[in-house]
């Protein structure tokens, strides 16, 4: 009758409802943009065999130190945990892993896992920046044999992270929920599929040099202004270096423009020559400067009265520091330092001269000017930092601009311009030269700052368009331009690899084995139920 009909129908519907209960969270697969860690080797280091692609189940980062749980698994590491582990490494607290292949750094950061994905926020608060800077430096200078990627936080990723934590038992949940998660909960599969990197056989770098000749003669002195135009971060495509090398370049270009204007009028031209040098590979121990010096004309080098290197001048700071190696005993050095100090005072700024003798046995120079100082040239670095940053710590992925950056850059450009003009004109009054038609800071500088900030320029992946743009700018505003292209030879200090563009990280849901077994049992029961009910109906 109708009753048995409805019973039969309700059985099927009941089964459907049960399935519906288990499908309450229909998470499909999710794709995120993943940024690979910059890869290069240094001489003496065993070449990293770091693979780029992986397809692994996700494990909780808490279980990273348990090799049985983390082997052949990928871990998602939140940035706070990454910083904490870097601190542990710094203090020498290494976990005790049985594997002999994994070095101390990798075992502290990633444990025994086979892939590392670091989750970073969009912005990092100021207090954490120094710690992050150091963490990136360790990333560059220590060995990691596993694929490493950066992903930006978002809500779904947060969900994934908390699900991984609860299902691996690191978050306290009620017992029934725990059982549910173990048997039927979601496991995650992380996949990155991209080209593998290979060592670059030939790496070239380009320095761009612009010359503004003074109205003197061949014996006239030259002042050089140096800035490096490459950027750096843990991942090449996230390298803006806005307050570091990008600011230096923007300042140099504006200086080129105003001094060109100044020198275009004979009565405002000095006998001093001006040399503007844009170097590459700055973040690799000022490689471009080193190359320039090794190939520079002897007469030119002899004519250099002073070299001013620009560093980290996009950072807001109470004081600026003129780091130098020659003591103020030297009359020319003294004049230079006094000009900087007086120019600063006229602009309501503070410049402190910090003199430190060059340590000739240093393999890594703390400041760019030391390369020049080693050649007995009076050289200084103007920086917002009072202490030097080690190599690979000068910039990072959070080195972005804020509302104040352009102002800071304009202010510092004025300082350098005024100081140099006092030096080359020998003026003793406090008048500011760069006013009105020579006003510093305008659209051109702002445009350059924006263009450079939007273009990652990690050496050796600097786009040709940037080099051409810089070349054109120097060519337009100087009387003589020299492009110096050098090739890193086989015995050079660094080995670089083919560029790896940001790729896709796919997080897909996988169910544990038990789930399929449970499902099989359920289906068996469902079919049996159907059979008996149909039999009952048909015999009625």
């Amino acid at each position: 009758g109708v009753l048995s009909d409805s019973v039969c129908g309700s059985v099927v519907l009941y089964a459907l409802v049960l399935l519906a209960l288990f499908s309450y969270e229909c998470l499909g697969s999710e794709s995120l943009q993943a940024f690979p860690l910059l890869k290069f080797d240094r001489v003496g280091q065993t070449p990293t065999i770091r693979k780029s692609s992986f397809n692994l189940a996700a494990a909780s980062y808490h279980s990273a130190y348990d090799e049985s749980l983390s082997r052949s698994k990928a871990i998602l590491l939140p940035h706070q945990e990454f910083l904490r582990r870097t601190e542990l490494f710094k203090n020498g607290t290494y976990p005790n892993l049985s594997s002999t292949i994994i070095g101390n750094y990798q075992s502290t950061i990633a444990g025994g896992s086979s892939a590392l994905v670091i989750v970073v926020p969009d912005q990092l608060d100021q207090e954490t920046i120094p710690q992050w800077r150091e963490a990136e430096q360790y990333l560059h200078t220590n060995e990691l044999l596993i694929p490493v990627y950066f992903v930006y936080e978002n809500d779904q990723l947060h969900e994934v992270l908390s699900t991984i934590e609860t299902s691996s038992g690191y978050e306290a949940v009620s017992l029934p929920e725990k059982i549910f998660n173990t048997l039927l909960g979601d496991n995650y599969q992380l996949t990155v599929s991209t080209k593998e990197q290979s060592a670059l056989k030939q790496v070239t770098g380009t320095n761009i040099q612009g010359w503004l000749g003074g109205n003197g003669d061949v014996s006239s002195p030259t002042i050089a202004i140096v800035a490096s135009y490459d950027s750096l971060a843990a991942s090449p495509d996230l390298a803006k270096s806005t307050t570091s090398s990008t600011s230096s370049t923007a300042i140099l270009l504006e200086l080129v423009r105003v001094f060109n204007k100044l020198y275009s009028q004979p009565r405002t031209q000095s006998n001093y020559n001006l040399l503007f040098l844009l170097t590459t590979g700055g973040h690799f121990n000022f490689y471009g400067s080193k190359q320039w010096l090794s190939e520079a004309d002897d007469r030119l080098v002899k004519s250099l009265e002073a070299v001013i290197c620009l560093d980290s001048l996009g950072e807001a700071s109470d004081s600026l520091y003129l780091h130098t190696s020659r003591p103020a005993k030297d009359p020319i050095a003294n004049r230079l330092y006094e000009n900087f100090k007086s120019a600063a005072k006229s602009l309501d700024l503070n410049v402190e001269v910090k003199q430190k003798k060059v340590n000739v046995s240093n393999t890594e120079e703390p400041w760019e000017h030391e390369h020049f100082s080693k050649r007995r040239i009076l050289a200084s670095t103007l920086s917002a930092h009072s202490e030097p940053s080690p190599n690979f710590a000068r910039s990072h992925i959070f080195d972005n601009s804020d509302d104040n950056t352009l102002n800071v850059i304009q202010r510092n450009t004025k300082l350098v311009a005024e100081a140099i003009s006092r030096h080359i004109f020998g003026s003793t009054n406090d008048m500011l030269v760069f006013q009105q038609s020579l006003e510093i800071g305008g659209e051109l500088q702002e445009n350059w700052l924006n263009t450079l900030s939007d273009t990652p320029r990690v050496f050796p992946y600097i786009p040709e368009s940037i080099i051409e743009g810089l070349e054109k700018m120097i060519r337009d505003y100087t009387s003589d331009i020299v492009k110096q292209t050098f090739t890193l030879n086989k015995n050079s200090e660094y080995t670089f690899y083919t560029a790896n563009a940001p790729t896709e990280l796919t997080i897909s849901v996988a169910k544990p084995f038990v789930f399929d077994v449970v499902l099989a049992i359920m289906i068996g029961g469902y079919l049996a139920g159907l059979y008996f009910l149909a039999k009952v109906r048909s015999s009625v």
Binding site: V12, L16, F22, G28, K511, L527, L530, K535
Partner: protein, 230 residues
């Protein structure tokens, strides 16, 4: 290990698709597999006929994924080919047995053929992925719903073949048949336009099919009652 895991999922989905068919077959004591084969064959024929008619008479289908009512209605007309095939099949008494058995053979055979054509492929390709998706299980459940769906329409067609159908019943049957023709339109609408999840689609289908099924059962019963009265 991973491969075994995903294969079990495939097996689960196949069991969910074809299991109920097998269960219905055995539980109603049906003993003639060749009838199933015949009905399955007729399903194939009707599908080919529909394809042929589609290609010949319906102007080029727009592929932009939007829903054109007029076009869909034209496609619905072609569903009539389904009905014609059913009519022929039932009329010629290729299968023996009482009413219920006949209808069951038709329903099961058609569903089996449909599942083989439309479900086995996607399951083989998709259910063995490492990535888990509910859609494959839901696809399998859809197969069970098809049994009731085809049973209902087979009932309507069977009643059409009866020459001694009282006018009231015949009117209702005609109405139900028209509804059946419009169902593909309705289902396509729900899939494309409403943009709802896989689960909701299955539930919606079930919600439509089951009333139809019960209606068909009541109609057949009513017909049998009128026959008994005679």
């Amino acid at each position: 290990m991973l491969l075994a895991m995903t294969f079990i999922h495939f097996v689960n989905c196949v069991a969910l698709t074809f299991g109920p068919l097998f269960v219905f077959y055995r539980s109603h004591k049906l003993r003639e597999p060749q009838s199933l084969l015949y009905s399955g064959l007729f399903y194939l024929i009707s599908q080919f006929a529909k394809l042929f008619l589609l290609a010949t008479f319906v102007p080029s289908l727009t592929e932009d994924g939007s829903f054109h009512l007029v076009q869909e209605l034209m496609i619905a007309y072609i569903t009539v080919a389904d009905l014609v095939c059913l009519y022929i099949f039932l009329n010629n008494r290729h299968i023996r047995g009482n009413v219920r058995s006949q209808l069951l053979y038709v329903a099961l055979g058609w569903t089996a053929a449909e599942s083989l054509l439309e479900r086995l492929g996607p399951l083989w390709i998709g259910a063995r992925n490492i990535e888990f998706q509910w859609t494959y299980l839901l696809l399998a459940v859809g197969g069970t719903i098809s049994v009731f769906y085809f049973y209902a329409i087979a009932s309507f067609m069977w009643l059409w073949t009866r020459k001694d159908l009282p006018p009231t019943l015949s009117f209702i049957v005609m109405g139900s048949t028209t509804v059946y023709c419009l169902l593909p339109v309705l289902f396509k609408y729900s899939d494309m336009v409403l943009n709802i999840g896989a689960l909701e689609v299955v539930l919606f289908r079930a919600a439509v099919v089951f009333p139809l099924f019960f209606a068909s059962k009541m109609l057949v019963r009513a017909y049998e009652k009128t026959k008994k009265r005679q």
